[in-house]
């Protein structure tokens, strides 16, 4: 590449040791490459925060306006499933962190095991989410044509509402529960979409890790995926209290 007699630092350095195959041509060193891609991932996560931020804003505003409806509607969520799912997700973050550590310390079987566990825990999360969603469908709590305010204008008809001693809401307030459920589906749905994308990438990574990738010193991809996975986890850490926990006993 350089036919000039004057060689500059960068070129000399590059000439000293041969490039590993995973170093892209436009980077000066592997360290620079890892640094740049890591930084890019952090910025991407920043855009994700802004993306979810719009939904969180809508949630906070509407919750303030229609407080009784949001409280009554949140009583419909199953706190057992929610807590269970939180535990599942935190465990998956742990196994993912183990995966990154295994990749860094070049333990191939450990990496594959961690990735498989993360993959399975991700599937368990989605499974539980499906159970929760189907409960909502059965009760006609999915916003749209079939939405029913029965549980809120007549709480006595609904065991979940009875359990919390909900008082009947006036019709106009009861109808606002539909907004709560829309936000519930939009936010957890958007979160689940991120999980599905993550699980798909995990599948690809397991396949590659078995072939020996990531344990040859080039761990950027695993690290960056780890960041993504933890981010998705953290979104849930905010969704869980906002949707399930706060004002539980009012």
């Amino acid at each position: 590449m350089s036919d000039s007699p004057v060689m500059t630092q960068g070129v000399m350095e590059a000439a000293k040791h041969a490039h590993p195959p995973y170093q892209r041509h436009h980077f000066e060193s592997v360290a620079q490459q890892a640094d740049a891609t890591n930084f890019a991932m952090w910025i991407f996560l920043l855009t994700e925060i802004m993306f979810f931020g719009g939904l969180f804003t809508a949630y906070l505003i509407l919750r303030n306006w229609y407080y009784p409806a949001f409280v009554a509607a949140s009583h419909q969520l199953n706190i057992g499933w929610g807590t269970g799912n939180t535990a599942v997700l935190i465990s998956s973050s742990f196994t993912m962190a183990m995966g990154v550590w295994c990749a860094e310390t070049r333990r191939k079987s450990g990496l594959v095991l961690s990735l498989v566990l993360t993959f399975l825990l991700g599937l368990v999360f989605l499974g539980i989410k499906t159970i929760e969603y189907s409960e909502k469908i059965e009760k006609h709590h999915v916003p749209g044509f079939h939405y029913s305010v029965q549980s809120f204008v007549n709480p006595a008809s609904d065991p979940d509402s009875v359990a919390y001693g909900d008082k009947p809401l006036a019709m106009d307030m009861a109808r606002k529960t539909e907004l709560y459920f829309f936000l519930y589906f939009a936010m957890t749905g958007m979160h689940a979409l991120h999980m599905i994308i993550g699980i798909a990438i995990l599948g690809y990574m397991i396949f590659r890790a078995r072939a020996g990738a990531y344990t040859n010193g080039h761990v950027t991809f695993v690290e960056n995926f780890g960041l993504y996975w933890h981010f998705v986890d953290i979104i849930w850490i905010f969704l869980f209290p906002l949707l399930y926990l706060i004002s539980r006993h009012q």
Partner: protein, 555 residues
């Protein structure tokens, strides 16, 4: 008096375009469609945004033609609504937002930093594909009925009262948004991590600073637009109610989310242009930009302030008086960094050795027109006058002065300035100076009457108007015709110059940026060896010393 030009071309009888360059390295369509080279992607972007510019321009022509007469006679009023909506959508999302960053920024940021490429070449290519996909979808929705909400998709109009292609257009803009997020992300990573040895933050050209500020806006603002559009699409398809007052939602919430992006987007559109102007003004007055640090930080300040002024688009939409007061004050603050830039460019010119090549003419156009556009923005930021002027032609004139008079002039300045570097050939000087002049005259004739029309009370977005406004509208339409000629000329002579232009050599302008210290057109890896930056930006004495060294070594 020195000569009236700084252009320094090699001897035309012996000069040749370097055999090995980024254009000649590989051939065939696939070598372009699968390229990772930031320069080739910039060219792809240049072709695509020009295509969309002329579609948007044709729509603008139709608008002006309709407004030639007071009656709605050229097209039905519904059609007129669609035409101006599509004009806005195409010009903003498919031309202005990617215009300078995706073409000139893509091409020159790595070169100015002394890097071989952007940090993430594949993401860069992906961003172009997303742009093309979004563009095709937008054209498809235009041809299958169009959309008539205006480019702002204002709820509840867009969710409840129209039955046009809001969903497809919304998805198109959603996709285009990701293309711009990826561009911004790539720039930020590149500027942080890919600078050549010695290239400190305060040795970077101001063009790079402008793009850094732009990228911050892109990555923080665009996702919010994305979610706002997702919600509009869901509101239309499922009827979710977040923006529907009948279900307890709030149409104003959409406005907040939309303008949280779309006001910063105004700065996404202008900041890269300001970067171009800094380069051009310095080069053609042979002086370091006055107050380099202030200009650099004013870009960042615009980016930061830009996030705190969005509600000035909503003064008449029922937000509280206190919000109006605060947002009005904050809006005034943005005028400060913008003024810093204009003043510093003026001081750069002071006692400089000014020459009047085409990029400089466009830059002068920018300075004048942007100042008018910016000052009239203060009228609109003041809530009292805003109530009278908003939704009239005054606001149309205001943002066209900033966007067309500002950004488009800057884009053309940059395109002419870097054309020799991109293609290795000069554009023809005389006719391009004429084009710059025609553009300036046509522009003023088109948009200045609109300030008067707006003050008199002519509302925007109507196909017909009272007959007493006709004289000024005829002026405006006549100006638009001249403006059209001004934009067609560069297409013709720039295409001509690809084959017949003079050979430019490495550094025809005697400019100081690293991008000029390599061959034109550049090699795929930009530099034969990684440059080491050992001087400040815009150091013309360093350039002189370089030349002396060269002469000494050749001698």
């Amino acid at each position: 008096m020195s000569s009236a030009t700084i252009v320094n071309l090699p001897d035309q009888s012996t000069a040749k375009i370097p055999k090995m360059n980024y254009l000649s390295k590989e051939n065939g369509l696939l070598s372009w469609l699968l390229t990772g080279d930031h320069k080739r992607i910039a060219i792809l972007y240049l072709i695509s945004i020009s295509f969309f510019f002329f579609i948007g321009g044709a729509l603008a022509g139709l608008i002006r033609l309709e407004l030639l007469t007071p009656q709605s006679d050229l097209m039905a009023t519904d059609t007129y609504n669609k035409i101006f909506s599509m004009h806005g959508i195409i010009m903003i999302f498919f031309f202005l937002v990617p215009s300078v960053p995706a073409t000139l920024g893509n091409f020159f940021i790595p070169m100015m930093l002394g890097a071989k490429d952007l940090a993430l070449p594949k993401i860069n290519l992906l961003s172009w594909y997303l742009y093309v996909a979004a563009g095709i979808l937008a054209l498809y929705s235009m041809m299958t009925g169009g959309v008539d909400t205006g480019w702002t998709f204002t709820t509840p109009l867009s969710t409840h009262y129209v039955n046009t292609n809001v969903i497809t257009t919304g998805i198109a803009i959603f996709i285009a948004g990701f293309s711009s997020i990826f561009t911004g992300l790539n720039f930020i990573v590149t500027i942080h991590k890919m600078r050549a040895p010695g290239m400190t933050w305060f040795r970077m050209p101001l063009f790079v600073w402008g793009h850094y500020a732009t990228s911050i806006l892109m990555i923080l603002g665009t996702p919010v637009l994305a979610i706002a559009l997702v919600l509009v699409v869901l509101e239309r398809t499922v009827g979710i109610g977040v923006f529907d007052p009948a279900k307890g939602g709030d149409p104003l919430l959409f406005q907040h989310l939309f303008w949280f992006y779309s006001h910063p987007a105004v700065y996404i559109m202008i900041l890269p242009g300001m970067g171009v102007i800094s380069e051009v003004i310095s080069t053609f007055s042979r002086k370091r930009v006055f107050g380099y640090t202030a200009v650099a930080f004013s870009s960042v300040a615009i980016a930061v302030f830009g996030f705190f002024v969005w509600a000035h688009h909503m003064f008449i939409m029922g937000i509280s008086n206190y919000s109006v007061l605060i947002f009005s004050l904050l809006t005034m603050l943005v005028a400060v960094p913008s003024a810093i830039k204009i003043f510093n460019w003026a001081f750069t010119l002071y006692k400089g050795s000014i020459t009047f090549e085409t990029p400089m003419l466009y830059a002068f156009g920018f300075m004048g027109l942007f100042t008018i556009g910016g000052m009239t923005g203060v009228f609109l930021g003041t809530s009292g006058t805003d109530i009278h002027l908003t939704e009239t032609y005054f606001i149309v004139a205001h943002f066209h002065f900033v966007m067309v008079g500002g950004m488009l002039m800057a884009f053309l300045a940059g395109l002419h300035f870097w054309w020799p570097k991109m293609t290795g050939r000069m554009y023809p000087e005389k006719i391009s100076q004429l084009a710059a002049l025609v553009t300036f005259i046509g522009f003023n004739l088109t948009f200045f009457p609109q300030f008067i029309l707006g003050t008199l009370g002519m509302p925007r977005r109507y196909a017909s108007y009272p007959p007493e406004f006709q004289v000024l509208n005829v002026f405006s339409t006549a100006g638009a015709t001249i403006l059209g000629v001004g934009y067609l000329l560069p297409v013709l002579y720039l295409t001509w110059s690809l084959k017949y232009g003079e050979i430019a050599g490495d550094n025809p302008w005697q400019a100081t940026g690293l991008e000029w210290q390599t061959q034109s057109p550049p090699l795929t890896e930009n530099f034969r060896e990684i440059p080491i930056m050992d001087h400040e930006a815009y150091d013309y004495e360093w350039l002189e010393r370089q030349k002396e060294k060269e002469v000494a070594s050749v001698g």
